[in-house]
Amino acid sequence: MTSGTSVINDKVLQYETFISEVLRRDLQKVLEQRDAVYEKIAQYLQLKNTIQSIQESGSKELKTDVDLGCNFYVQAHVPDASRIYVAVGYGFFVEFTHAEALKFIEKKTNQLTEYTEVLTKDAAKIKANIRMVLEGLRELQGLKDLPEDRRREVF
């Protein structure tokens, strides 16, 4: 009996460390990546809005304020606003017209949305694994749940 109890205690410790150090950390990383992707999507959508506003104005020349840092702004003049350089990834910028830029932004946002969906699924899996391990610990420690819970498990 003493040896059995000691073995059980060791197993319990192992499972608890696995949950806290592996599963929970993975979950945190996945969620962080998803947040970054959402931020990226937000930026592209903002750019889309600005381009649409420029098209509506229809003027070629453009005046704007440039941020030097810490909210200090200086006036800037754009003689030709028909062309715009857009970052396409990995530090590369491509010169687009307004219409082309809008198409690219649409495609990019769709791709990013799909990636976020994948990350969400991964997060769900990790949560499920955590749940399974906790159930195992419960059984090892001799804890019992209500019968309703058991039925749910069966289904």
Binding site: L47, L68, F72, Y73, V74, A76, I84
Partner: protein, 508 residues
């Protein structure tokens, strides 16, 4: 004491409290460090901005890629390089030159520096606290100093230096504890001494209280003694009254003889001195009384010349009364003599002249009987005389002993004053009669008695002969007793009271 208590409490809570305290310190330090990083970044940004502002006005325009968000650019130019728009906060903007913008940046940098300094101070304080908690652990003995020191030395030099200092501290701290213990002991001893002082003070108070009670008791006793002395003084004054009355009687009996008068006076003075010695507190009173007596004597000397005429009338009365009056006079004389003897014996004054008087008194009695027998052979009269003597003795004792008589005299002060005058007149008359006769003093005394009795009892002789004529003896005896007793009391009382009253009147 409080410090020691605190230390003890901390030691009890060391295992859990110390760990929790350390955790809290660590959290605070981490927060401060993160804040420091933030402010350092801000500082760097402002420095780069400052450099840019200083160089920006150098050219009128710069060719740059104008950013549209973080993902897009457009080719363009910077224009109006000396015009800078600054965000002041709450969507308020200010337009100013590059130099003005530079001053704004300086102001903000100062703010950043202050924030950094404050955070640095906080970190130092919490590090010191962490060190203190480590020292507590070492003091409690949970960790070995030797082992800790070695590990620390291996880690870093700075840490080792600090730890060396820590190593010295625990050695000194227990010494401090011992010192505190010694101080506590000293304080306890001081407290004990203070308690002893309090006990001594209480004892002193108790003694003082006891002394106070003793003094109160003594004062009460003194008051009681004084009361008793006052009572004795009053009794002594009674004695003085008796002495003065006896002296007056002696003077009257003596008559013109100078030698006899001198002896009597000497006796009186001695008695007064004895009374003074007995009553030390009342020395002044007898002196005053003596003075009063002297005055009375002077007045007596002046009066005799006036009363020659009155004596003639008295003689006529004697002739009419005959033998009956003579008997009464003799009885009164005997009573007076007996009273004098008693007073002398009471005073315990043993002198030859007094003894001679005592010896003379029985002789006088026998002479009285002889004279009576020779004059009148009737035996009935002899029986009546013996009974009258017994009555007189009783009356004398009652008068001398009781104090009620004194009170009565005081009450009747005014009335007795008149009696005093009458008695003084009678005494003067007696002296006048003595001088012309020139017989012995005893015989002179008898004549004097005759004169006094005649005046007082004129109506009585009419009734007396009827009684004597009747044969039954019983009814006559009580009548005579009553008659004899009643006049004696008022005669003596007024004399005694008269003296006091005279003294009072003279004083007034």
């Amino acid at each position: 004491m409080a410090a020691v208590g605190k230390v003890k409490r901390s030691t009890r809570d060391l295992p859990r409290g110390v760990e929790r305290l350390k955790d809290e310190h660590r959290k605070v330090v981490k927060d401060c460090r993160s804040q420091i990083e933030h402010w350092e970044k801000v500082g760097k940004d402002y420095e780069s901005l400052q450099d840019r502002l200083r160089t920006l006005p150098d050219k009128l325009s710069y060719d740059i890629m104008v950013p549209f968000g973080p993902l897009a650019f457009m080719p363009g130019k910077l224009v109006h390089t000396n015009e800078v728009t600054v965000l002041l906060g709450d969507n308020w903007f200010a337009k100013c030159s590059a130099k003005q913008a530079d001053t704004l940046v300086e102001h903000r940098k100062k703010h950043v520096e202050n924030a950094l300094d404050d955070l640095q101070k906080v970190i130092k304080n919490f590090q010191n606290r962490a060190d203190f908690t480590d020292d507590l652990k070492k003091l409690s003995g949970e960790t070995g100093d030797y082992v800790d020191i070695r590990e620390e030395v291996v880690n870093e030099e700075e840490i080792t230096k600090g730890k060396h200092r820590l190593a010295h501290k625990p050695n000194s701290k227990p010494k401090q504890e011992y010192i505190l213990e010694l101080k506590d002991n000293k304080e306890k001893e001081d407290e004990e001494e203070e308690d002893d002082d309090d006990d001594e003070e209480r004892k002193a108070k108790v003694l003082s209280e006891e002394e106070l009670w003793a003094r109160l008791d003594e004062l009460e006793r003194q008051e009681e003694l004084q009361d008793q002395r006052f009572r004795l003084d009053s009794t002594d004054t009674n004695g003085e009254d008796t002495t003065s009355s006896s002296e007056e009687e002696k003077e009257a009996d003596g008559g013109s003889d100078v030698q006899v008068n001198g002896h009597q006076k000497e006796n009186g003075w001695k008695a007064s001195s004895l009374t003074a010695q007995m009553n030390g507190t009342n020395g002044s009173h007898p002196e005053e009384e003596e003075d009063d007596e002297d005055c009375e004597e002077e007045t007596d000397n002046g009066l005799p010349t006036i009363y020659f005429s009155h004596t003639v009338e008295f003689k006529k009365v004697r002739i009419n009364t005959g033998k009956n009056t003579t008997l009464k006079f003799s009885e009164r004389k005997e009573q007076k003599e007996q009273a004098k003897h008693k007073k002398k014996s009471g005073k315990s004054s043993g002198h030859s002249p007094l003894e001679s008087y005592k010896i003379t008194s029985p002789a006088d009695i026998y002479r009285v009987f002889v004279d009576l027998v020779n004059g009148e052979p009737i035996p009935r009269k002899s029986i009546l005389k013996s009974r009258s003597r017994e009555n007189s003795v009783c009356s004398d004792t009652s008068e001398s002993s009781t104090a009620d008589f004194e009170e009565r005299r005081a009450a009747f002060g005014r009335s007795w004053s008149h009696d005093d005058a009458t008695h003084s007149d009678t005494s003067d008359g007696i002296t006048e009669e003595d001088s012309p006769t020139g017989t012995s003093p005893h015989m002179n005394g008898r004549f004097e008695a005759f004169t006094g009795t005649v005046i007082e009892k004129d109506p009585l002789p009419c009734s007396i002969p009827h009684l004597t004529i009747a044969p039954p003896a019983l009814p006559t005896i009580p009548e005579r007793k009553l008659e004899e007793v009643v006049p004696d009391v008022p005669q003596e009382l007024p004399k005694r009271m008269s003296k006091f009253k005279a003294t009072r009147l003279h004083h007034k």
